[in-house]
Symmetry: C2
Subunit: 460 residues, 2 copies
């Protein structure tokens, strides 16, 4: 039985991985233009896995693959393809394939596709929709990017408050045009304002005569249509929600967001934070060499300016270094420890902001904590590095200079790591994106200045 085979496959070490053997087999059938074999190879795989396969092969192979597979494309595969590849895929597809594929999708998936495409491809998709879907999609596109309005689907199930369980079930059995998936019936008043939610499991476990209002969950949350997707994802995660009604400014029901959409946003946001902290923007593995070079350039350029600033600081102490060359040998240690300490603090703070754990209520306590953590680790490492410096160059005073500079820079690193992201957040700049450069600038400059400055005072 195929279910058993699937289970065994899942138990293997690389459970859900498109493996090298499959990629090779697929490429072979593409090269030999053996469409039947290609279809057979891909048949057992989920749309999301097939979409991942596109990231494993290069541009030329992709083009040949698309041409051969042709009608194999359905809406689900298109919905799963990485946004960076989508434009290229659509350019290769015939109108016929596009319009067939689009028909399967709920409006939220169509919106998601269209968002990532250029004008001409957008038109092709809109043309493939029937009139009511087209209106729905075009309306969704009127909402700002990254708003709940773009994330929601308009297909939903609602019921008036005077219905009972039996009426609702009869309606569901008769109604032909239900959403592909749904988990709640939204209860609305005559103005279409949601007043409660009946989860399907409550509906199913209640007698037909039960009034819907008796089993409805009134503690439900509605999502304002203009709310940011980030806040939507936070709410789904925080409150373990499976689906939530979306309302307009008049508090009228306009759509529904389900957990799979929220999960994607949540996942994307964490991913974004990781990459922004390292200065690699929205890069992915499928980007070409040139575009990757371009994406990484800005951060490196910022870092170049930063490190030149640090060099300017060092240059002020050229005569000190000339007199005591040991300073040149040891100075990177102080700067590097500060940079690492600052990055540690920064990372914790940026994530705490993203998960709303850091608020005005505990900010002072956290700043105080980072000061003391910097101080304590600074003292420990000052002792170690002081002894190292002393033994290495036989100068106790050099050890003292190293130690004092270390404590100072670690404290500054801790404070910079918390104050800089807080400050950036306050003026509306994403702290994940910009904090790193500022923090290491501070720790480099303070590190070199403190070490060389103390040395000039105490050792010359």
């Amino acid at each position: 039985m195929s279910d058993v085979a699937l289970t065994e496959n899942e138990q293997s070490e690389h459970a859900y991985e498109i493996d090298a053997a499959l990629v090779e087999a697929v490429l072979h059938s593409v090269k030999t233009a053996d469409r039947d074999h290609l279809v057979e190879l891909l048949e057992p795989f989920h749309a999301a896995d097939i979409a991942d396969l596109f990231e494993q092969i290069n541009v030329k192979e992709r083009r040949a693959f698309i041409a051969l597979w042709g009608k194999g494309f359905d809406g689900e595969v298109l919905a799963e393809i990485d946004e960076g590849l989508l434009e290229g895929v659509f350019e290769e597809l015939s109108d016929e394939v596009v319009s067939e594929a689009i028909k399967d999708l709920d409006t939220d998936d169509v919106v998601d596709l269209i968002e990532d495409l250029e004008e001409p491809q957008q038109e092709r998709i809109l043309d493939a929709l029937d009139m009511s879907d087209r209106v729905a999609v075009e309306q969704a596109l009127l909402y700002p990017e990254d708003s709940a309005g773009r994330l929601m689907q308009r297909e939903l199930v609602m019921a008036p408050t005077h219905w009972n369980v039996g009426q609702t079930i009869d309606y569901l059995r008769k109604e032909g045009d239900l959403p592909d998936q749904f988990y709640d019936v939204v209860m609305v008043d005559p103005r279409l304002t949601p007043v409660g939610k009946v989860p399907l499991f409550s509906l199913l476990s209640s007698p037909r005569k039960t009034m819907m209002t008796d089993i409805m969950d009134e503690e439900f949350r509605t999502i304002p249509v203009l709310q940011s997707q980030e806040d939507v994802a936070y709410a789904f995660n925080q409150y373990n929600m499976i689906s939530a009604p979306v309302v307009d400014a008049d508090n009228r029901l306009v759509g529904v967001i389900t957990m799979d959409d929220a999960m994607e946003v949540l996942d994307d946001n964490a991913e974004e934070d990781i990459k922004r902290l390292a200065g690699v923007g929205d890069e992915s593995l499928i980007d070409s060499i040139l575009s990757t070079t371009g994406r990484r350039f800005p951060w490196l350029a910022v870092n170049l300016v930063t490190s030149i600033l640090a060099s300017v600081v060092i240059a002020q102490f050229a005569t000190t270094i000339e007199a005591i060359v040991a300073l040149a040998v040891l100075m990177p240690i102080v700067a590097s420890m500060g940079g690492n300490g600052g990055t540690q603090t920064l990372t914790v703070i940026v994530r705490a902001m993203a998960t709303k754990d850091l608020t005005r209520a505990n900010a002072i306590r956290i700043i105080r904590r980072e000061f003391f953590v910097g101080l304590f680790n600074g003292i420990i490492f000052a002792l170690i590095i002081g002894l190292v410096g002393y033994y290495w160059y036989g100068s106790p005073m050099l050890g003292v200079v190293l130690g004092v500079a270390m404590v100072g820079n670690m404290v500054v690193a801790g404070l910079a790591g918390v104050l800089i992201p807080m400050g950036l957040d306050k003026v509306g700049i994403d702290p994940a994106l910009a904090s790193g450069a500022f923090v290491t600038t501070v720790t480099d400059i303070v590190g070199f200045f403190a070490f060389l400055g103390f040395a000039a005072m105490l050792l010359l």
Copy 2:
């Protein structure tokens, strides 16, 4: 109406934030021992928000809060409390409160609680359970940590394949002991092997006489009970699953995992990667100053060794630096650019591994890409920094040395950023945890060595 108020509140800028005013009001009622006011303050908040409140206050305040709120604790709040705080909370709670609170929870939540506690508190919870729940929890604890077995709940709804829709609904209406929430009916054969899944929305929209097997989804995935939670979360995210049956080695149904549990794992994993890359382990804002100092120490210690190694390299060129002090001024630039370039590559690679985008099928292509990205950015920055060095010190040869060292270090950085995590992964070490130190060691040493070495050859 309270729903409207909620919606307006959500539309405010800090939609779901526990704000400073609330924290202050709560602390005031704790200080004045005004239990009624405390209960009233917390009443409108979700369990997850109340649990977050615990992270906003200090140890002493927390203790007083717990003593006052007492019976206010229900299972949901306990289930949401940060694992680092849980032990302390349980120590303050009376047996009576614990046993009342535990009764509300599904077994998976109880397992989740027990995992984070020490022996004596675990016993208290087990003692509070009735016999069948206790057996279920103890059995779950026999599964390895981080396995699907620990994540699943045993409460589920299954049906034999010969039932029709009407029989299933009648069963659901009669059965008193249903799970708190469920989204599918799992169809099983007489050996309890899952053969399909009927989503509740299909059940509800089909006539009573329809056979369950006619509307059952056969393309469902089962989760082996020993599968890692990381793979479970990946599958839920990749395949947009809402719930999935869990099976034992004999392919028999033993439980169910729902998307909220998977979402939590996914979220935790991304969080872990971010923090590990910065060397801050599983730190959170609630950790004390001393424990934070301790958690950050190892990474800083590694970095100290690394930077001393780099200093040893510099020390080899002490006489060169004595002769040309400009080298001491400029050398941190080359090392720092390499470190940043390496970290960029590393971050992309570590995330691509976590999301299973980097496989053996595309590894060679990615290594090649990183080589060229390093080369191209290296060339651009070599030109810039070469000119800077030339103008600053009036020596064209110094510019050449800077430029050549820059290209070399950027290429090495790109290769180290991809090869080191791949190598660590191969020998079974988490690349997020350990790669950073290795990569910056390489770029520091290569950076200083290349720059000072070329300088010694070409400038003296």
